[in-house]
């Protein structure tokens, strides 16, 4: 066994333990340790990615050298390693971009607590990505929820407490359903390791036994994860949670936390239940319908919103609808498009949140649209970044959003006779709605104010500027050089099954 193969395990443990260390440090050192840990995990994930790409096959890692039925397992393939790498990059950039606000909005004595939560979140995300055991996945889902709740409420005001409570309630409903689904699957199959469950489920399904319990279990798991990742009818907690928390938290929550659950759903579809059984159970049709509704209704709510942060939050609802719609198409092409959209949305949404905070800072901390007029002139870089993010969300060529919309459109034309028309129509309507609210904002921030007052001075920070530039570069790279990434996703999905 090569030494590189230990890295996924190391990165989970490193982020978990650094949380303990951070609790004893003050804010400044906590920040440094946190930055170091995320960078280290990033480097290790990159090494693992290269290793897996080179060997061309996935591997399983036994925890504590106990073989399968007794020990716990980690499984690493191309997609897992790539996701880990990507999540680390986005997390690091979000933290750097929101650092100035973190200092202001969080009490001095609580700064190190924030970094503990981030470390905990990172370790739970990595565990969700890598684990090969369904119950471990459940435990880390809960850890993810708890740390995400902490990230929301660490900026202490009434709004964040209310948002955190609503978030917790919806999340707990979701995890209750997930747990029950896992229990039923365990009872039907007698296994907890993903690959073993899949074998049993496929045999049971083809033999025609336990159809009802299996469908119920699949339904519980899908609905549970859909609630947790804020699919359309379950999104009520989302706008306040993203709108009032500190900017790094909003960026991390929208681009990583919900994506972690979606990635777990992909994994469960392919590795626990098996794609054929999922298709046969028709559950994905329900996800498809709710995904389509989410695309339209999320955008409509965003148009009515008068608060820039909440508008971006509602746009997340629409984008998550896209992802579920791609899953619901029921083809491999649709799945590839969904995975690509996970990447594209993560990169764009965090860019938008970080850029929006620069604009609101330049407008006297007001998030109302009327005050944002001309903000693009007052903070030029944030204005450009917001425009790039908006263009990407709308789906302009050369940006990442275009590629994902293209992939969705091409995938729904192939092999999906009944779903093609509704998908194309909703895609069209949703794109127009996206354009309405994003272009409205862009025009607003570039409308010059008469008797322009440059009195509001924006403190320039190198970290903030650097983070924005990096986000824009990631967006353009995802948009211009999509072929190798799409190929990688295809290889990764093949490795899944």
């Amino acid at each position: 066994m090569e030494f590189v193969q230990n890295f996924p395990f190391f990165s989970i443990l490193l982020s978990l333990f650094s949380g303990t260390v951070t609790s004893m440090l003050n804010g400044k050192w906590a920040k440094r340790v946190n930055g170091f840990v995320i960078s280290a995990v990033m480097v290790m994930s990159a090494a693992v990615l290269f290793f897996v790409l080179k060997t061309g096959e996935s591997y399983t890692f036994m925890m504590g050298h106990f073989p399968a039925p007794w020990g716990n397992e980690i499984r690493v393939g191309v997609l897992e390693a790539f996701m880990a790498l990507f999540f680390c990059v986005i997390m690091l950039l979000s933290l750097i971009g929101g650092r100035a606000h973190l200092k202001e909005e969080i009490a001095e004595s609580k700064q190190n607590l924030y970094y503990i939560l981030v470390n905990l979140l990172l370790s739970s995300l990595l565990a969700l990505i890598y684990t090969n055991d369904l119950f471990t996945a459940y435990v880390f889902v809960e850890i993810n929820t708890i740390s995400a709740c902490g990230l929301i409420m660490i900026r202490q005001n009434g709004h964040t407490f209310e948002a955190a409570t609503r978030y917790m309630i919806m999340s707990l409903l979701g995890s209750g359903l997930l747990l029950l689904g896992i229990c039923i699957l365990y009872d039907c199959t007698g296994h907890l390791l993903m690959s073993h469950i899949k074998e049993s489920v496929v045999t049971l399904w083809s033999a025609g036994g336990y159809h009802i319990p299996l469908v119920v279990a699949i339904g519980f798991i899908c609905v549970g994860l859909a609630i947790k990742s804020a699919l359309f009818p379950f999104h009520s907690w989302l706008p306040n949670a993203y709108g009032y928390s500190t900017v790094s938290s909003a960026a991390i929550l929208s681009s990583l936390v919900s994506k972690g659950y979606i990635f777990l759903l992909f994994k469960i579809c392919y590795r626990v239940i098996g794609w054929e059984v999922i298709l046969d159970s028709k559950i994905i049709n329900i996800l498809f319908v709710f995904g389509l509704c989410g695309m339209i209704i999320g955008s409509l709510s965003a148009i009515q919103e008068n608060d820039i942060r909440r508008m971006i939050a509602f746009s997340s609802v629409a984008q998550i609808g896209y992802i579920y719609m791609g899953v619901g198409l029921g083809t491999t092409e649709g799945m590839v498009a969904s995975v690509y959209h996970v990447l594209s949305h993560a990169a764009t949404k965090s860019l938008l949140f970080v850029a929006a905070v620069g604009l609101t800072d330049a407008s006297g901390r007001s998030k109302k649209f009327s005050d944002l007029t001309g903000a693009g002139y007052r903070n030029k870089l944030a204005g450009v970044a917001f425009t790039v993010g908006s263009l990407s969300m709308v789906g302009m060529p050369a940006f990442s959003g275009f590629i994902s919309k293209l992939l969705f459109a091409t995938s729904c034309v192939q092999n999906t006779p009944y779903k093609m028309l509704p998908t194309l129509i909703c895609l069209g309507i949703s794109t127009i709605l996206n354009a309405i609210y994003f272009m409205k904002t862009v025009i607003r921030i570039y409308t010059p104010v008469k008797g322009s007052n440059d009195s509001i001075l924006v403190k320039k920070s190198v970290g903030y500027a650097g983070a924005l530039v990096c986000f824009m570069v990631i967006n353009v790279v995802l948009g211009m050089f999509s072929t190798p990434i799409v190929n990688m996703i295809q290889i990764g999905l093949e490795m899944f099954s």
Binding site: E142, F161, E162, L172, G176, L179, C183, Y186
Partner: protein, 125 residues
Amino acid sequence: MFGPNLLANYGEAVSMILFAIGFTNLLLQKNLIKKIIGLNIMDTATYLFLALKGYIRGRVAPIVVNGVQDVEAYINPIPGGLVLTGIVVSVSVSALMLSLTIRLYRRYHTLDLDEISTLLKKEEK
């Protein structure tokens, strides 16, 4: 389809009903404390389900005492382990919910989440 299976598995049926009661309470109750009670009923129902599935009539807990090492003598220990992990998780989320409730109550002197939202909207104006 329902008759004999339902009677044989009445414990599981009860746990599902309890789960539904807990789920509806957590979703629909206005009072935060009642919501947390609902959460606990929901989680406990899942543990009841797991424990029932792990239990085999006439066998004992898998602790070797009288030198009996036959697999047939013991029940399946894994559901017990899962229940234990689940209890730890549910304790920590209950604690988190309760602490949030205390924070909200100190600030707004009410336990009704909708009322808190209205108060927040007034605060903003």
